[in-house]
């Protein structure tokens, strides 16, 4: 099949996806969690159902600012607050047990303001190191800088899709950017390259055996690996969907991030990395001819 013929279509699709994400990023930004922003997050379980409005009002009466309160499931409540001390933490628990019969603190996170910027820096370092090592590995393995660079560009594509998607999800459903999101992002990098390498490998193999233009080799390689790519993604998607639906609140958004990354990573190998590679090759040839 002549996959490369439809390159403008792939470009359009990717541009729409990334464009929507970028629009959301500039319009609404990212919904940063306490890991990045600092502040406290506390989850409580009470015996009786309580109203979050009433709880918020009662807590604020004690001079503690509540940024949001949210019911999780039937009997658990999640409060987001500014940085609080241990006395204030005790007060909240007392208020909630007065309202709801008993109150149990399920989880409590209090992150100082200095942690977030550090987290961002460390993430950027991790991204740069991972990307450089992968670029190096692909370049050595395929003896071509073109292969390495287009793989990294596809990786960048997937990261942008994921980041944009989470900006939208954050705006619409309150998905937060936290520590786990960073982990998902880094995992997706390797994922994206994993898939790309499988396609490249086919290009390399037929190049040795058959020769011919990169355009034809790429078409052939994509045809040969398409079923494999889809099937492999399906198995991963099965596991992740199960985790999204059944895994509970703590891992839900983490699994969704991995899911978006998997879909984008599968798409980007034949429809971003390979088209870039082929276009690059064509441009180089044109330049040489002139």
């Amino acid at each position: 099949m002549n996959w490369m013929k439809y390159r403008p279509l792939y470009l359009l699709l990717s541009m729409v996806m990334i464009g929507a994400g970028l629009f959301s990023l500039f319009r609404w930004g990212l919904n940063l969690g306490v890991d990045f922003k600092g502040g406290a997050m506390a989850e409580y379980k009470t015996q009786n159902v309580i109203s979050t409005e009433e709880a918020t009002r009662k807590i604020e009466e004690k001079g503690i600012v509540v940024s949001s309160a949210q019911a999780i499931g039937a009997d658990a409540y999640l409060f987001r607050l500014g940085n609080i001390n241990n006395d204030q933490r005790g007060i909240i628990n007392t208020v909630l047990s007065d309202l709801g019969g008993t109150s149990e603190e399920l989880r409590f996170e209090n992150v100082g303001p200095s942690i977030g910027p550090e987290l961002i820096k460390k993430t950027v370092y991790a991204l740069i190191i991972a990307a450089s090592l992968i670029l190096l590995w692909v370049t050595i393995q395929f003896k071509s800088f073109k292969f390495g660079t287009s793989a990294i560009l596809a990786m960048l594509h997937d990261s942008l899709v994921l980041l944009g998607a989470f900006s939208l999800l954050g705006h619409a459903f309150g998905a937060e950017i936290d520590f786990l999101f960073v982990t998902a992002m880094l995992t997706i990098l390797s994922f994206s390259v994993h898939d790309t390498i499988v396609v490249y490998d086919r290009v390399r193999e037929s190049q040795k055996k058959l020769g011919g233009s990169l355009y034809d080799l790429a078409n052939r390689a994509i045809t040969e690996t398409m079923v494999r790519s889809l099937n492999n993604s399906f198995t991963i998607i099965f596991m992740l969907v199960a985790l999204v639906l059944l895994g509970g609140t703590t891992v839900k958004w983490f699994a969704i991030a991995l899911l978006i990354g998997t879909v984008s990573g599968t798409y980007s190998s034949p429809f971003v990395a390979v088209p870039i590679l082929v276009t690059w090759d064509e441009l180089l040839k044109k330049l040489k001819r002139h």
């Binding site: 989850e43 379980k45 241990n86 933490r89 603190e105 399920l106 989880r107 409590f108 996170e109 209090n110 992150v111 100082g112 200095s114 942690i115 550090e118 820096k121 460390k122 993430t123 991790a126 190191i129 991972a130 090592l133 590995w137 692909v138 393995q141 520590f179 786990l180 960073v182 982990t183 880094l186 995992t187 990098l189 390797s190 994922f191 390259v193 994993h194 390498i197 499988v198 490998d201 086919r202 193999e205 079923v227 494999r228 099937n231 492999n232 399906f234 198995t235 991963i236 099965f238 596991m239 992740l240 199960a242 985790l243 059944l246 895994g247 509970g248 703590t250 891992v251 983490f254 991995l258």
Partner: protein, 437 residues
């Protein structure tokens, strides 16, 4: 070795792994079965393993505290020693507090020195963080001047001169007191000090606050003293722990806290198990539907993968966190990848050559892709796991847990995908073909 012999070996290997990976107690057909642990004694070497999964703080419940040390008054060359001694003091305090398997480590990043304290199974973090956070600088002071002009002058006798501190109860009032015992040097200093101050008060300061204001009646040469204050028993106990562990060389403050109750952790585990079982079921079904007989072989490989992975988690042992479980589930999805690659290749090769030839060729050809692709994933897992504790990368437990389970999953999936399913295919698929002849 023939493929059949290899398979037999894999089978025995899997049985051993299955034994390890089973929970220590489980219910099968309404009967409770308990799996005994391993208690071997070979001459002097005693091997004791109960093969239980080790859960991290987010699953077992517990507290993760990060303290930042204020190094502003410490010269650069002494910062490292100061931080190490902060860690040692905290470690001692936590141990004296009675936390099992605490983890205390230091981390320095861009001029910020931190101590990370992990306390499994702690419910009341309020008390724990207060205990860890106090500097506990104990000083004996002299009083100079009278009345309004009285001034407290710190003496050379400090917490460093203590041999031990203990909670006791005052025989007349019944109130808790902290009994101090000085070192040899401290005894001399204390005798000297009491000698000079007979009839005068000798206040005791903790972190620049007067906690006790006793009067000296006579010179004390026995090297023992008491702090009587208005303490509750718990406060006295806390003070004794702090004094025993020594003072922190620099003040520290709590900058990050994450506490998870055991209830939430337990719920997360059971939810993840359900998600895992259902996801696995779907993958198994999918493989059979897509590849028929070959898929069945891949499924056997996948089940062996699961058993081996679980056994390895217990043997190493890997501290399982919630992201770690997600990493494991993800690796289950990825584990069949090598099989899918090979089977797709096999479909192509089958047209060109004989059945068993095609199988061997597919394994050989697919290996390049499998190797190159998995190394790329391992690179990322390596950076996330940060095994050398590079301070410019993440050092957090959950992320590390995820990376470790992911990396292990990749390693084991290479084994099951290439060795196990290959031999399964050689034995089962080839024989069936020969029967047809």
């Amino acid at each position: 070795m023939t493929p059949i012999k290899k398979l037999l070996l894999i089978f025995i290997f899997t049985l051993v792994a299955l034994y390890i990976s089973l929970p220590s107690k489980f219910i099968l057909f309404g009967k409770e079965i308990s799996r005994p642990g391993l208690n071997l004694k070979i001459k002097q070497v005693e091997i004791k393993k109960n093969f239980d999964l080790v859960f991290g703080l987010d699953l077992a419940g517990g507290s993760h505290l990060v303290f930042e040390a204020d190094m502003s008054k410490i010269s650069d060359d002494k910062k490292k020693t100061a931080l190490t001694s902060v860690r040692d003091v905290i470690e001692k305090r936590v141990n004296l507090f009675g936390v099992s398997e605490p983890n205390v480590q230091v981390s320095s990043f861009e001029g910020k020195d931190r101590v990370i304290v992990e306390l499994p199974g702690i419910k009341d973090t309020k008390e724990a963080s207060a205990l860890i956070g106090t500097t506990a600088q104990l000083i004996f002071a002299q009083v100079e001047g009278e009345g309004e002009e009285a001034k407290l002058i710190p003496t050379g006798l400090t917490g460093a001169d203590l041999k031990s501190a203990d909670v006791q109860f005052d025989q007349t009032t019944g109130k808790p007191v902290v009994a101090l015992e000085f070192t040899k040097e401290g005894t001399v200093k204390f005798a000297d000090l009491t000698q000079k101050n007979i009839g005068k008060p000798l206040p005791i300061l903790l972190d620049n606050q007067v906690i006790s204001y006793p009067n000296v009646n006579e010179a004390i040469t026995g090297g023992k003293a008491q702090i009587t204050g208005d303490f509750t028993t718990d406060e006295a106990k806390k003070l004794a722990i702090e004094l025993n562990a020594g003072a922190l060389p620099v003040p520290i403050s709590l900058v990050e806290e994450r506490t998870v109750g055991a209830t939430l952790g337990g719920e997360s585990v059971s939810r993840s198990v359900i998600a895992g079982v259902i996801g696995l079921g779907m993958v198994l079904l999918f493989m059979v539907l897509s590849y028929g007989r070959l898929g069945l072989v891949a499924d056997m490989g996948l089940i062996i993968f699961g058993i081996l992975t679980l056994a390895l988690y217990k043997l190493i042992p890997v501290v399982l966190t919630l992201p770690g479980i997600a990493g494991f589930l993800l690796s289950v999805g990825m584990a069949v990848d090598s099989n899918i690659l090979i089977f797709e290749r096999f479909k192509e090769e089958k047209v060109r050559r004989g059945f068993s030839d095609a199988l061997e060729v597919s394994f050989g050809r697919a290996w390049d892709s499998i190797r190159d692709a998995n190394i790329a994933t391992l690179v990322t897992a390596f950076i996330l796991a940060n095994p050398f504790d590079w301070s410019f990368l993440h050092t957090s437990g959950p992320v590390r847990g995820f990376a470790i389970t992911l990396a292990l999953g990749i390693g084991i999936s290479l084994f099951t995908g290439l060795v196990v399913s290959r031999n399964l295919l050689r034995v089962f698929i080839r024989e069936k073909k020969e029967m047809k002849k």
